[in-house]
Amino acid sequence: MQHHVNSIERSKDGQQAQALRIRPRWRMPVLKTVYYLLMVLFLVFYMLPFWGTVVTSFKTNSEVMTSTPITPPSRWTLEGYASAMEELGLPLMTSLLITLFGAAGSVFLGSVCAYALSKWRFKLNNVFFIALVAATYLPFQAILIPLLQNINALDLYDNVWGLVMVHSIFGMPMCTVMMRGYYADVPDALIKQAMIDGNGMWRIYRKIVLPNTKIATITVFVFQCTSIWNEMLFALVLGGYDSKPATIALNELAGTMAAEFNVQMAGSLILALPVLVLYIFMGKYLISGQMSGAVTAS
């Protein structure tokens, strides 16, 4: 910014240069200090829960009882993690299975819908799209009872495959809305060319659209993975003991080990870690994906 100002200042007459003095020189360092202070304040607000969690998770249980939660442990141990893994190990694997298959299913369904919606004109195109967008705002409580009946009728209560199915179906609208934006970027000329060469609709999809939108597909897949990994309501209602994913297990852990905060915090961190890593490295893409979905939706 400073650079721009200087270059214009040097260029033309003095009147403009007068106008371009944005703020008095002495105020710059003061303002900067204020900004940095604000930044530090906000960082304290955002990082305090993380700090308390990390510090507590490395303490022994007796130290949790005696020390304040924000002081670092006198002796760093993994006790909390060991006991948390005892409770969470199995549910974590269940979660992983549900997440991978559920995300794959919803991305598959969503990409088929998105392809048809963005590249092919048909009669009910708009109706179908509006129905999909409306489904993204659906409060799941409003379909919970019929869903439970359906799952019971399919004999899938307390079964990971039931959860996989449910997540595939209810993740589909969001995936479609996200992918439609990406698929619209594939040039129509490419598809017309392929049509002239005599390729069918689904051949074009396999050979042209999918290979050209690999990164988009991965982004949507990862986004879907994070939201299924974090989901709790369906697992609570449709899953029982055998198909307990990690979110439910953590919630139960907080109930049964109410006093052992080191175990609770270690469990929280274990559950959060994969998603945090994904967001640290891919955060920008995930958010822009969701935003492009929201923008096309509205």
């Binding site: 403009q16 990082m47 048809a116 659906l138 409060p139 009946q149 179906i169 709790m232 979110t247 994904l278």
Partner: protein, 343 residues
Amino acid sequence: MEQMTEFFENLRYMTFSSDRFWRIILIVMAVILCYQLLKRFAPRAVAPVSGFLSRHPLIWICIPAALLIYFVYVSLGWNLWVSVSDWQAGDLEASYGWGGFGNYARMFSSDSFWPTLKNTLLLFSLIPLCLLLGLGLALLMDQGLRGTAVFRTLILLPFALSFVVTGTVWAYMYRPTGGVLNSFLSMLGVDVSAAMKHGSLMWASSNRTIMPSIIIAMVWQFSGYVAVIFLAAIKNVPTNIINAAKLDGAYMPRIYLKLIIPQLKGAMGSCITILAMYALRSFDFIVSLVGYTTSSAWTLPIWMYNEAFQSNNFAYSAAISCFLLALVLVLILPLTYWTNRRT
């Protein structure tokens, strides 16, 4: 290792125990396989079918469309019917006769109705709070300070967390004695124990401050996300316009107020819809922060869950969820209309 074997045992049991589901899958697979084989070796036999499919490739869209219609729209209607059916309270077996609007009457006259509705609407105050804080953070990040990239990554992290994790962590934050927040305050020199004697600084443990506590925690989770979106939108404002304004002698605050913030309307609209969605789905969060049974923090989804899956009043809870749906329609539709009108 033990858990590994248990997991695979569970998986094997779950995979092969449910006959009906797998029978359906097997039939579908067999049909596909037969079709492919016939197409390969006896194309004549399936010519009508394959011709039809190649003439109408969009027939495949019917599968996701059917899933959507059945599991969302038919289910909504089904739920509506359940709410007026004669499914008795406490009955696990469904019954679908006409039962009248008794459930709705009971809901509106229930003691928990108004507090619950108030809590649900109160949760929406999350939206202006997040927008304001997000805007402030975005403007702060736009100043070209050193360390902005790290700052942006860090404030985005809460958004990645599961509601369950946030709930568990903030339950620990909010503990009156031995919680992170109160220890931090006492480290800063606030006399926490004296304040607690007067009943303040009790956070989620007091009925008076339970909803503000929940909202603060949710603002913590979502404001960074809003800020990142706003920052991207600010960066999209063309620098030409800003330079032109500077030439005209505008000061930076004025440029922000008159030039940049009005251009954020699109981002703001989509943020509002996304935040409204999360506010309505805050079930997981409140449940893991204060539990199902804390009735002072009940919102409509939690009330509905309790009626349905704790006390088996399915018809009654269906009425509650229909009311929730109506509320969503009333709140979200104008919102989407408003954002639509812009673009």
